[in-house]
Symmetry: D2
Subunit: 248 residues, 4 copies
């Protein structure tokens, strides 16, 4: 068995070290991860320059690009054999609801899925890396389960893990993505030379955190597992649009 591990916090982040450590005896592990933090990178690919690929003393390979770059380059050139599974994370902070769209952690897994490889993104709902060991154990259980009992069909899972000690979570639930309110306003600040510049504001609070959502599960202490799709077609609207374009 061969697992490719990536993330969006960069190859030196505690989350990827904990993940690799936890998976080490389940399979051969290859790590190809970004050189520096790329939170918010979404599925961005670097098309304007070639990517440098280097090896760290601990054996991790790092790329001066995005999470999607890392998995893309690994699958189209670096690895000598196709991985059986791609695992991304453990991310420093949640990736739930609409955030999923912006997440580099999810994007690294998505890139694998687009190449037809089962892929799982893990995020820990904590910015302080507290309970990282517990999160790594949950990740390990799920990966071991997938290796023994592979899910039928294409697989892209978005897993969020509560910030709780191992054994104190309530269990694991399959969920749908919730929704957030729109983001809060930009935060203006001033440069030393007097120009006003703007930070992107924080995410909005949960808008749809009803039963069945990832928000709902996490609020109650469950690990959430959301199966994702990447075909963005709004199938239910195609006929309506067909009628709408008719006069054009």
């Amino acid at each position: 068995m061969h697992i490719l591990v990536s993330n969006d916090d960069g190859y030196t982040a505690p989350g990827i070290e904990a993940l690799v450590h936890a998976l080490r005896d389940l399979a051969e592990i290859s790590v190809v991860a970004p050189e520096v933090n790329h939170s918010g990178a979404s599925n961005s690919l670097t098309l304007s320059r070639p990517l440098a690929v280097r090896k760290a003393p601990n054996g991790f390979t790092y790329v001066n690009g995005t999470p999607s770059d890392c998995v893309h380059v690994a699958l189209t050139g670096l690895l000598d054999r196709r991985p059986d599974l791609i695992v991304s994370g453990i991310n420093n902070g949640a990736n739930m609801g609409d955030d999923t769209l912006y997440s580099g952690t999810v994007a690294a897994a998505a890139e694998g899925y687009l190449f037809g490889i089962p892929s799982i993104a893990f995020s820990l709902v904590s910015k302080a890396w507290s309970n990282l060991d517990a999160a790594a154990q949950y990740a390990r259980s799920m990966v071991a389960h997938q290796l023994k009992n592979p899910i039928a069909g294409p697989v892209l899972l978005n897993v969020n893990i509560p910030d709780l000690p191992f054994g104190e979570t309530k269990g694991v639930q399959a969920t749908r993505l919730g929704k957030r309110h729109p983001s809060q306003p930009v935060i203006p600040t001033s440069t030393p030379s007097g120009e006003t510049v703007y930070w992107i504001g924080p995410s909005g609070a949960a808008n749809d955190d009803s039963e069945g959502t990832d928000f709902y599960a996490l609020q109650r202490g469950y690990v959430s597992v959301t199966p994702l799709r990447l075909d963005l077609t709004q199938q239910a609207q195609v006929d309506q649009i067909g009628r709408w374009v008719n006069p054009l």
Copy 2:
């Protein structure tokens, strides 16, 4: 009426100039676009630094960030009133099938949709800006149609326009996204100091270009209009995953 225009090729690109020119008499136009080209940016947001917002001599506002940054900052701080429509493009090249996921042009429109505003992304299937005027006329017709006959419900449209003179297209079709084969291998090259570095390889050829897809429509000379959704949940798989996680 108030339209916000953005793109991913940068505020100086011929595509956005042609688009603004074509829409000028339909509504008040605000332009907030990236300072430089961000093709492949996907929905990436810049979270690690504040964004500078400046005005070009032609009245366009430009931001040293991504397409998503531009629309986000416009909606959460720059504009004094909410736009009725967000239009992105006209992109230099197609955004069809899986490419949609990586497209900055689509991402700019997606950002508007997430704020509840009808949004349309326009792409021209040509890298040479040939037939740009024709594309701008198609964009104008569709925008005028939406302003007069607004589509019911949330709207995010991905429009691809063939590289043909005005009047020579076959019409407009509502489509679903096709699929591509995985990308081609990385392209290694050597730096002057002898390091091997890697370009991301070209997209794969169409894999699913069957009837009803955007590929199919464009190959036959139609403008394609694909309605998109951004909720990535694979709803059909939630129950299956629920059973799978049961032993965990």
Copy 3:
């Protein structure tokens, strides 16, 4: 006659447009300038990626790199014949005293000088582009003078122009660089996610603005012209260091 023009504020800056306009009838003008602002770039060269070179509608060539990159690439590949003079600017703000070391405007000229071509950097002591036309006229006079009466020997001139209407300056003085006090403290600010980050603080006030310095000249309404050298050897200290290293 052939003049290469560059700057560090980017090819769309009013300063470079005014400069090119003022020089247009003195010689053939080639412009190769950065795509975006690179203030503070010093002599940095981009070695980690290849540079894109593109043409703007106004005929200017722009490069996605630093001021030094622009002149370097122009001289080692883009231009079909060697320029007789390299002119950089007009910069938005002074480049006096120690600032010269950090200036991208001066660096663009320095790059030309290193290739054995007479080079002049022009800076306007104003952040508001006020009196830019006057500055362009001074630049024009000096360039015309150099074309007719070329300075003997290698030439790298750092010219600072007061923020005054044409005819209201007191004249032109040859100067040495003054000195500044060390910079002011960093300015801490907070990101939306709560991390403290730091702006580089403003330059220090003039420390040596005694007679003969650029500071002194500008304070009195003169244009200052400082001849520069790029051999950083502290010749007067070589013997002292020779004795100091003796026991090693």
Copy 4:
């Protein structure tokens, strides 16, 4: 005693680890170094965004900016007391002759010198990190010598160390900077989408490597020590320019 250590290869480079290890028992060591490689950065300062300052597990502080940023931020905000010495390196490759102007290694030391602190830049004439331990021992000897027998007056030393085992160098020489021939031509390459882009070409060969230069010393197996100055005024030319500007 308190030494600030920085470099331009990034805080994870073998050169800075070897340097810190070698100096550890001579003084208290603070490390503030760039997050990633910034070769060729010259004295560039980051003025367009605030800088993030983070701590690595090994105690090194890293900054998402240039070598000059690192030393600047350390001296104007991070360190609670002024260092007695600033040491930069050990660089991966020579910094001799005109290269000195582009070097980030030298720039880190230069920033300290501008704040009035004795500063030394160390470079190893090898790209393969061979004989790094020997280079670290030479650096240690020189730093120990400076701590015991401080050079009178302002100090900025540019030290280049041959790629030889310890004990096999011929000694240490005080030198002046040599000169290089202009760089070689740009190296064109093609992007996957067919655009021609350009690598900066390699440095030129030595042009002035006569006796007394750093080139001369290194070619003969000596460590070279060149005292530098940062006042770029070409004093010998001020009177000539005074006469030249007279008609203006």
